[in-house]
Symmetry: C2
DNA sequence: GAATGTATACGACAAATGTCGAATATGTCA
DNA sequence: TGACATATTCGACATTTGTCGTATACATTC
């Protein structure tokens, strides 16, 4: 029986807060973009003052999540971390906290407690099948990995 | 093709902080137990003052995560949320933030970017198989679900 | 009942996060 | 060159989280 391998949670530990996630999603979609653009986009779902968004984005630049390109009076923000990096960070934190870093118990939990339906389980099996019959995993992983 | 169902992230949204997770793990294992017991247990991996642990546990009681039973001068803490509830909360927050609440993209991500090995994928498939051939899922889910 | 040890109560403080307003700077246009 | 709109800067403040120290209260034991 194969021993469950724990994914090392220390490497590439990008951790975004709630507000940072919301902002990053807009930046990934529209970069390079101004703080005003982000604020207006977010306003559709949740209204916040421009200064709120700008302050958070400045702090994100300090942390190395965003970088600023200056054009005259304007600042254009670009992401310094990929969505894959952010997802990895979020996933690993969850796995570490709630499942001691082990994948198998998490899968078990999903099936037993999250009401994974037969359809969903089938999808999942198809994904696993694709993986096992050797798809373009390596290549894809390479292309979409960290851009940090 | 089945449409990916988003797990509703609002229901049962138990969210624990890092310190709270560490404490809860000890409480689940040893409840009912005193704050001193928790502090001593945690001290093995990470030393913190008794008052630090006690303050955090009092706050957790305020939040409804723990309850206190008083015996003369002593306080015994018991959990008000199950480990399943806590895991569910942690998992759903991750899923909502990083994958818009959808399971399938998360699975895809796991396979493409987390280097899910063939062995792990096999384990996963076995879990899925067990699920599809009708195990004791319903019963188990019932027994281990929320005790809130 | 005084000394000693253990628990509790509670105030404090720093850092991180989410939030904003107001002052200042810059650009555009009639 | 003003007037007006837009961006940036930056200080401020409330909450939450993690962290303690210290003053009190309670029990046990000479």
């Amino acid at each position: 029986m194969p021993k469950p391998r724990a994914i090392n949670p220390e490497i590439n530990a990008v951790e975004l807060t709630e507000a940072e996630w919301e902002i990053m999603k807009v930046v990934w979609e529209k970069e390079p973009c101004a703080a005003g653009t982000v604020q207006e986009t977010l306003a559709k779902s949740r209204d916040r003052a421009y200064s709120t968004v700008k302050t958070t984005m400045d702090r994100m630049a300090d942390k190395g999540f965003l970088e600023i390109e200056r054009i005259r009076n304007l600042q254009l923000f670009k992401s310094c971390i990929s969505e894959v990096d952010a997802r990895r960070g979020e996933f690993r934190r969850m796995l570490k906290r709630a499942f001691d870093g082990a994948l198998t118990p998490m899968m078990q939990f999903l099936i037993e407690h999250e009401g994974l339906s037969k359809e969903e389980a089938s999808q999942l099996r198809m994904l696993v099948e694709k993986q096992n019959t050797g798809g373009a995993r390596k290549e894809k992983a390479k292309n979409e990995s960290s851009n940090r």
